[in-house]
Each structure stands twice: as C-alpha cells, then as structure tokens.
C-alpha cells in the first residue's frame, strides 16, 4: 500500500468513531420517542404536560409535578451557585496571587470529580438536619428537611466547581495586553475587571451559565436523596419535590406491571433529554448572536 492510500484508509478508520458518538444522540432520541409512543397516544401532549395528577394505577400520568420540581430545584441551585461561582472565578483569575490560585484550583477540580452519591450523603448528614432543626423553625415552618431547599443546596454545591472552572477559562481568554491597556491608564484592578474582562467575556459567561443549567437539570442521585420525592406541585422551597431524573431512577424496574408505566418513564426521560438539548442549543445560539454583535 502506498503512503498516500494508507492515509486515506486511516482517514476513513478515524471517521467511524467520530460519527459513532454523534449518532448515539439520535439513536437515543429515536428509541425514547418510540418507547414513549404508547403514553403519548393516550392523551394530547399538552394534557400530559399540564396535568398535576400522577396516579399510575388509575392511568393518570400528569407530568406537571415533576416538571415544576425540576424547575424549582434547578433554579434555586443556580440562583445560589451563579454568584458564588462568578465571584470565585473572578478572584482566581484576576486577583489571586499565583500561590493561592495554585492551591485553590486543584481542590475545586477535585470537588467536581466527587461521585454525586457522596454529595447526597453530605446533604442527608448536614443540610437536612440544619433545615429541619434550624432554618425551618426560625421561619416558623414545619419541615422534614427533605425539601427543595435541601435539593437546591446540594445541587448548587455540585454545579459550582464546574461553573468556576468554566468561567475561569473564559476569563483567561482575555489577553493580558487588554487588561494592561486599562491598568496602564491608572485603572484599578476592579475597573479592569468591570470594563475589560467582563465586558469582553459576558457572552461566554452567559453560555457557561446556560451549560450549568443543563448540567443541573440532569443531576440525579444527590438530588433524589434529599429532595423528598413527593409527586405534588411544590409551592415553597420547604415543600418536597420530585424532579424528573429522580422519577426515572426511583421507579424504573419497579411497578412495571402497571400498564403504560414503562412508557410513562420513557417519556419522562425524553422530556429531560429535550430540556437539556434545548438549553445546550440556547447556549450555542446566545454565543453566536453575541459574537455577531461584537
């Protein structure tokens, strides 16, 4: 075989794994869609999404409690995580002396690699008693501690390492010379951050936040351990909730004798996948638009 034809063969060999991974997404969507067909044919989509009655034995499959549970927990987690993460990332990227940065960064990276079940245990051991015995009584509320607040806190702790490292990377893309332009005119470090670094990177920061959202949506284990798992539309952060990933993880393989149950869980998975994909696309889109504006 000549060197040239060998190169062509290698090119096609490399093509296969590259395509394989992207095909996976389509395969998943198709399988989930096909499996959810049974439940989708029982009622119009809008009824399924907006009904809050989840009684599988009676054949009632309303997804609203799970959708709302997912939204509450994720939104709370992001509200808690975004400010902390951005401030830490700004500190690490713009203020921290190299010695401090080199100490903190590996710890944050390690944190993002910890299995989520450990975060769940941490939530049960620390956060739940804290809410049950201190936070809720302080506000005159009776709570078991297993609630949205606990889920949101655990989830916030889980997403902030990734938010910190991604936004740190984004801040580091600003060339030194551009910061120096501001500093060289007598700007303080904070002015350089505000006028140069954040101004230059806000599209990236927005994309990071959206990616953080899509990650938080799918987080399963730690959240289901602390969030209470009651299929009811929540009305306060001290209510229990039942996010979509928890629904699937808790029930798949159990109670499968109930008609349509299997298909209902598949549809929950499809919903989750759709939400995450939509958020990822949004991140791409925002980046594209904002880059164009520049």
């Amino acid at each position: 075989m000549t060197r040239y034809s060998r190169d062509r063969v290698i090119s096609s060999v490399l093509f296969v794994p590259a395509v394989f991974s992207s095909i996976l997404l389509f395969v998943m969507v198709i399988v989930l869609f096909w499996k959810s067909e049974a439940i989708l044919s029982t009622k119009p989509l809008v009824d399924l999404l907006l009904s809050s009655s989840w009684r599988p034995v009676a054949g009632n499959f309303g997804y609203l409690p799970f959708i709302m549970g997912t939204i509450w927990v994720t939104a709370l987690a992001m509200i808690l995580a975004i400010p902390i993460s951005l401030l830490s990332a700004i500190y690490l990227s713009e203020y921290a002396p190299p010695r401090i940065r080199d100490t903190i960064q590996p710890v944050i990276d390690l944190l993002s690699g910890i299995p989520s079940v450990i975060f769940g245990l941490f939530g049960i051991l620390l956060i739940i008693p804290l809410i049950k015995n201190s936070v809720a009584p302080l506000l005159g509320i009776n709570s078991s501690g297993y609630c949205i607040l606990a889920g949101g806190l655990v989830l916030a702790i889980m997403v902030f390492p990734i938010l910190i490292s991604l936004s740190f990377e984004v801040f580091q893309t600003v060339p030194r010379e551009m910061r120096e332009a501001a500093l060289g005119l007598g700007a303080t470090n904070w002015e350089a951050v505000k006028h140069v670094v954040l101004k230059k990177t806000y599209p990236g920061v927005i994309a990071v936040i959206i990616l953080g959202f899509s990650r938080a949506f799918g987080e399963t284990m730690a959240v289901l351990m602390v969030v209470g798992n009651v299929a009811r539309v929540p009305s306060s952060v001290f209510d229990p909730a039942y996010p979509l990933p928890a629904l699937i993880a808790n029930n798949y393989g159990e109670m499968m004798s109930i008609p349509l149950y299997d298909s209902a869980l598949m549809f929950a998975a499809l919903l989750l996948l759709a939400i995450v994909v939509i958020f990822n696309l949004m991140a791409q889109y925002v980046l594209m638009i904002l880059r164009k504006v520049e």
Binding site: E177, A181, A182, G184, G186, T188, E191, H195
Partner: protein
C-alpha cells in the same frame, strides 16, 4: 544641562530568585526620546515595565534601589499606582484597544480619573486624536468599535488614549513592531512631535529606529547597564567594547 525626569539609582530586580536587572543607575532626561537598546532577553522591557510598576503584575518580584519620578520612589510599596500610571503612560508592543468604541477608548482614562463632563471629554478626545493624526480619519465614526480600525490606526488610537490623561512620561515597548513600515513611520513621526511636551522612553531592538528617534541611549546587555549617553556620542563613539560589538551587529 538637561533636566532629569526619571532617576534610576542602583536598581536591581529579581523574578523568582533570578536576577533580571543588575544594579542599574541612569538619569533619563526630560523632554527627550530615550531609547533602551540591547539584544533580546537583556531586560529592556523589564526595565521599562518597572517604571510604571507593570512588572509585578503577574509574578511577585524583588526590587532593590530606587526609581525616582517627581521626588517619589515608584518602587515604594505604598505608592498610588493609579496616579503613577496616569502620569506614566504606556504604549504596548501590539495595539491593545479596549473592547469599546473609538471615542470611549480615548476618554477611558479621563473617565476613570473622574472626568465625566461631556464637553470636556469631547474637547480632549478631539485634541488627542488630532495630535496623533487620527482625527480626520475617524471623526465621523467615533462610535464604531475600535477593533474595526486598521492595526496602524489602532496603535495611534492607543497613543491618543495615553495622551488623554496628560501624562508627563510615555513608555513605548517596541511600539511599532507589529505595524507595517508606513504605519510605523507614522508613529515615529508622532513621537518626535510629542517630545516637546513629553518625556519618551522607547524600547527597541531595531538599531536604525533607535538612531532615527533617540536623543539619549541606554544600552543593556544581560541585565547590566553597559553604556548610556547622548545618542550621537553612543552611536559614533561607543566606549565599551560590548556596545561597539552590538552596534556593529556582532550579536543581535
């Protein structure tokens, strides 16, 4: 004799325990162009960045000796860096416009130093753009992003931006090296015009450029100050064999 603007006395600088600059003493004359020349890695840029204290931006440094401007030692840890850098402007190697409009770039320094009155900003912006010969090219698109200008225009914008805060000293770090020859000449001519009002310290590794611009020359070699003096003396009659060798192109 000439007045001194920057007085460097027994200045040594260490970065990560490595000595970069060795016991440098030189008086930089007021309202002249001083060229710092020397082969790459000799500490030219480090010396320049010490004058406005940019040198310790990313890594902690150890400095000995003094750099005196207006009676104050800029190496003093308590010095107000904001006021120092207002007085000592810097133009970087490659143009570094801020991610703002042309107008906002020029008045950026004024704004951070507390001037917000529209008419004052407008007047100063026009003056500064005029003095770098950019006004006629940009006056009808001041609101456009600065990044849309050509590189040569961007560098003149950076010069205008530095002038806007009325510094006494301009530090230029191979300021023309990223530009085409015509834009480079443009900047050189601006600098020659500006030296009546400013003290300019210019780092360059291009000897011909130093010969064109410099009134006073500082020759560094391996972190040491080898020779300094009025340009015509250093260039025509170098005292040190290393200066002689460098000028003859033995090492570059």
């Amino acid at each position: 004799m000439n007045e001194t603007e920057i007085s460097i006395k027994n200045f040594s600088l260490y970065i990560e325990n490595r000595q970069i600059l060795k016991n440098i003493s030189v008086d930089i004359p007021k309202n002249q162009i001083t060229a710092i020349i020397g082969p790459s890695g000799c500490g030219k840029t480090t010396l320049l960045r010490s004058i406005n204290r940019m040198v310790d931006l990313y890594t902690p440094v150890l400095a000995e000796g003094e750099i005196i401007i207006n009676g104050k030692n800029v190496l003093d840890p308590d010095i107000n860096l904001s006021l120092l850098r207002k007085n000592v402007g810097m133009i970087a190697q490659a143009p570094n416009p801020l991610p703002l409009s042309i107008y906002d770039n020029v008045v950026y320094g004024l704004r951070i130093h507390g001037i917000h009155e529209r008419s004052a900003l407008d007047t100063r912006a026009e003056q500064c753009l005029q003095s770098v010969g950019l006004w006629s090219e940009v006056h009808d698109r001041l609101k456009d992003p600065a990044s849309q200008l050509s590189l040569g225009q961007q560098q003149r914008l950076c010069l205008a931006r530095a002038l806007a805060v009325e510094p006494e000293i301009l530090l230029c770090d191979e300021t023309t090296s990223a530009l085409d020859p015509i834009s480079a000449r443009h900047i050189e001519n601006e600098l020659i015009c500006l030296k009546n009002d400013y003290t300019i310290v210019f780092v360059t590794h291009i000897l011909r450029q130093a010969k064109r611009l410099a009134d006073y020359v500082v020759f560094l070699y391996l972190g040491e100050l080898v020779e300094h003096g009025p340009a015509h003396e250093v260039f025509t009659n170098p005292q040190d064999p290393r200066t002689k060798a460098y000028l003859e192109g033995v090492f570059g």
